[in-house]
């Protein structure tokens, strides 16, 4: 460096001023899930006050909202990864219905080994996820539209095939199939803690959350998810296999939907063609409440876990409080809007404050 040394030093000072030290508190506040963490506490306190004396605070009350949160939470963590990757999946609700019915027809109607039914369901889910993902990356169309199509195709086909095969829309009898005991132990057992029965799906939910969080924050693939969602072109230019990442994420949401279907089919020993309806919207709501950006590139799996927890607390809390359950949807819609506004504000502050 000869004469340019002076300039280099001047530049250094100038840039250094820009990159001011960020306080630990501020860094904590800009985590995507902070809004949902605060929201969880507020919602819990609210129902503790309103419905605390009516059973919300009991062990069995806790078990009941965790159960609701778990089924949604499994979906939500997978949807969070997909949405961070910049895509939507509206077909997951219909995949729950289809996978549940595959198990019920295989194990209930035909009385084949339940393991076979579960295997077929997962293979089906992987195929659907792959098809969804491939169509999205090949056509370049919004995944919203592609998976909206899948939603109707899968739901309609589930109803059609089920009626053709069994003549009904609800199929039971899974509990008489070979292998049911083991399946029940894995997917439908209860853990008794202090007299209350906690569903094993809560453990599946935690497992999904740990795997998703690890993937997102500690693996190469996780970094690619952020990159692909933040700017697919930029990511492609530095060598990220964008199509593969997106297709994998769609397969992830389909598998999560199938896991929920398995948990429910084994618990209820049967399936209904309409099971899973609207779950795609609830999952998106949980993810958005959890601080994930609708446009991709920013978010967290922990946030989705908290979003699902809030969902569960509100849904059951309303019942405990003695309010008509009709009001749940109003509550949910309002919370979604509040969460979006709060998260947007926090993120804006975070980006500005560091300038």
């Amino acid at each position: 460096m000869s004469s340019s040394g002076n300039l280099a030093r001047g530049q250094e000072v100038r840039v250094e001023e820009r990159m001011v030290q960020t306080s630990a508190l501020r860094r904590l506040l800009v985590r995507p899930e902070m809004g949902a963490a605060a929201g969880s506490i507020v919602v819990w306190l609210f129902f503790a006050l309103v419905a605390g004396s009516k059973g919300f605070l009991t062990m069995s009350g806790t078990a009941s909202y965790l159960q609701v949160a778990a089924d949604l939470g499994i979906l939500a963590v997978a949807v969070a990864l997909l949405m961070i990757g910049g895509e939507f999946d509206l077909s997951i609700g219909s995949i729950i219905g289809a996978c549940g019915m595959i198990i019920a027809i295989t194990a209930g109607h035909f009385q084949l080994h339940i393991g076979l039914g579960i295997l077929l369901a997962f293979l089906f889910a992987l195929l659907i996820g792959w098809v969804n993902g491939t169509m999205v990356v090949r056509t370049g169309l919004p995944s919203f539209i592609i998976t909206l199509g899948s939603l109707f195709i899968i739901r309609g086909a589930t109803i059609g095939v089920t009626r053709m095969t069994t003549g009904r829309t609800q199929v039971g009898g899974i509990d008489e199939a070979p292998g049911f005991e083991l399946a029940q132990a894995i997917f439908a057992s209860k853990l008794t803690i202090a007299g209350a029965n906690f569903s094993i799906s809560i453990l599946w939910w935690l497992l999904a959350a740990v795997v998703a969080t690890w993937t997102l924050l500690r693996t190469r693939f996780g970094n690619w998810i952020f990159g692909v969602g933040g700017d697919a072109n930029a990511a492609r230019n530095v060598g990220v296999p964008v199509a593969r990442v997106k297709i994998t994420l769609f397969m992830g949401t389909a598998v999560a939907a199938c896991l929920v279907a398995v948990l429910q089919a084994v618990s209820f020993t049967g399936a209904d063609v309409l099971r899973g309806s609207q779950q795609e919207f609830y999952a998106i709501i949980a993810v958005v409440i959890g601080g994930t950006l609708l446009t991709g590139g920013y978010g967290s799996a922990i946030g989705a876990v908290l979003g699902a927890l809030i969902f569960g607390m509100v849904r059951q809390g309303i019942v405990f409080a003695g309010v008509d359950a009709d009001w749940f949807q109003v509550f949910l819609g309002v919370m979604l809007l509040v969460a979006v506004l709060v998260n947007r504000y926090v993120r804006k502050r975070a980006m500005e404050a560091r300038r």
């Binding site: 300039l7 820009r18 990220v240």
Partner: protein, 307 residues
């Protein structure tokens, strides 16, 4: 220099987009330790050419050789693996992602074993900090979103990244287009640094004032065709200017030049230009007189003018 095998060479490359001829019969070489400036107006085909070089597009016709061997890149990854790194006009950076995650996107360092094999974020942070420090930028929080950096700082991250990952060829698509004069001069200095490390640099711009001080050779594109490649020894700035813009725009460029000289003598010095040289240029273009704000003008020691 011309006797050595070029780092890159394209021979008679043509590129169609449907019926649009974006490039026609382009031949060009790039050697280690030189800065090749790709000049031309908007739509001349500069971006298309470098997208072929960096594996984004494949040529419709013609040959592409790296170190003398024909190649056919199917993706930017292939080009990267061959040591050809590109800093795109629309920056390959994710604004909402942290600095070190951006730095290593697509080439994450890994640590651990089996299912616990993981993205070594600590190492990523350390390296990012160290590499940025080499460019004179102190990073305190490598998790800081890239979106909070200025345009010039982002260019520096992108260049630092390319150099760190062992690029032998650095392709910069209009890195100075969105920058102020001062920031542009900083980026130009990094280009000089890369050349000093014996990298080959392809620098795309439609600003002759950024190109001329740093370029060793100039390739001029116009509507998808090449006007040829010229060594700096063979052309004056005015010749380059008139070739790329046509005589009608000379006057306007003269005004720009005077503005360049007036507003930023400091930046100009960093490029090894003296006030008197700038004055001479302004006089040549007959657009008035430039008085240096702070005398005396320094002597020329920077190597950027040596090419």
């Amino acid at each position: 220099m011309t006797t050595a095998t070029p780092l890159l060479e394209v021979r008679n490359v043509t590129k169609y987009f449907g019926s649009v001829i974006a490039l026609y019969d382009i031949s060009m070489t790039l050697h280690a330790g030189e800065v090749m400036c790709l000049l031309g107006d908007n739509g001349a085909g500069k971006s298309t050419l470098i997208k072929i070089l960096s594996g984004v597009h494949q040529p419709s016709q013609g040959e592409y050789l790296v170190n003398g061997r024909p190649v056919s890149f199917r993706s930017p990854r292939d080009a990267l693996d061959a040591g050809i790194a590109t800093v795109y006009q629309d920056l390959a950076m994710i604004p909402l992602m942290g600095l070190s995650r951006n730095f290593f996107l697509g080439s994450e360092p890994m640590v651990g074993w089996g299912p616990f094999r993981r993205f070594d974020t600590r190492r990523a942070d350390e390296v990012t900090r160290a590499e940025m420090a080499k460019m004179g930028i102190q990073v305190r929080d490598p998790g800081q979103p890239v979106g909070t950096l200025s345009g010039g700082e982002r260019q520096c991250v992108a260049i630092a990244r390319a150099v760190y990952f062992g690029a032998r060829v650095l392709i910069l698509d209009e890195p100075t287009a969105a920058l102020g004069v001062k920031e542009a001069s900083v980026v130009l200095r990094y280009i000089a640094q890369a050349r000093a490390r014996n990298l080959g640099v392809i620098f795309i711009t439609h600003n002759v004032h950024h190109a001329y001080p740093i370029g060793d050779r100039f390739t001029l594109l116009n509507r998808g065709r090449s006007y040829g490649t010229f060594s700096k020894a063979d052309v004056t700035r005015e010749e380059v200017t008139s070739m790329m813009a046509g005589g009608a725009e000379l006057e306007e460029l003269g005004h720009e030049l005077a503005e360049f000289a007036r507003t930023d003598a400091v930046a100009a010095r960093a490029l090894g230009k003296t006030a008197s040289e700038l004055n001479q240029e302004a006089r040549d273009l007959q657009v008035g007189h430039y008085a240096p704000p702070d005398a005396p003008a320094p002597t020329r020691t920077d190597r950027t003018e040596a090419g």
